[in-house]
Symmetry: C2
Subunit: 132 residues, 2 copies
Amino acid sequence: MTDDEILNAWNAICKVINKDNDDLKSDILNHVGNKWSLFVIHTLGVDGRMRFSNLQKNITGISQKMLTKCVRELERDGLISRTVYPEVPPRVEYELTSLGRGFLVQVTPLWYWIANSVEQFKEARGNYEKSK
Amino acid sequence: MTDDEILNAWNAICKVINKDNDDLKSDILNHVGNKWSLFVIHTLGVDGRMRFSNLQKNITGISQKMLTKCVRELERDGLISRTVYPEVPPRVEYELTSLGRGFLVQVTPLWYWIANSVEQFKEARGNYEKSK
DNA sequence: CAGGATCCGCTCTGATACTG
DNA sequence: CAGTATCAGAGCGGATCCTG
């Protein structure tokens, strides 16, 4: 992106984030920063369509309550789809939507950069602790 | 990014996020998703070096307590720098570090995409509400 | 199997008051 | 000016028990 494009981008961003879109704030903003959302989207992106229990198995440390909440929010915002099969015992499968795949594509470079910058973050923190 | 690069990216990401880096989770992950962090980084990125009171003026709705907390965390993780001038009354200026500028560059395309996808998110939510 | 309901400790946040 | 300190309320997140 050129400097101009970045400025335009930020104008668009601020228009969206500011005022009367506070609902989007606590939602989409949250999907970006939320550990569980990221894992759910990642898991579905890599392994494809998957059922509830399988998701929980693949995402270490998540409780069923948090997973439920997380998939509900992702479904509500159109990032994943939820399919219920009328069987006994019940079967529910989750899958990335095209919007969700777009999200994954957009978020990947950022996370890659963070992963590659971990040492710099650690060093920064080290310096900060010392200076205190 | 090619599919291979995306897979490699996610391997790197998961290695970083999983286990023994839970401190990084609640920190860097938070900077990405946190409304205030984003505004602080954005404001400093667009307007350059700035003092505390000016930041608060530029960021609508933030309380001084939250701004303090936010800049402390950003400083700790090396995204912004804090300069104190030994004057009376005191003057403190904040500025993006090169790491912080890197962060801004990385996060911009993602936010641009989100801003441009707002209508799709709204529509998704509308459908979800109806189906309930 | 895929969750809903409940209890409970903890953190996050805002509002207000005070200080070097 | 640039914070710190304190109180109070809302919501997060885990653990446990229950159900169609």
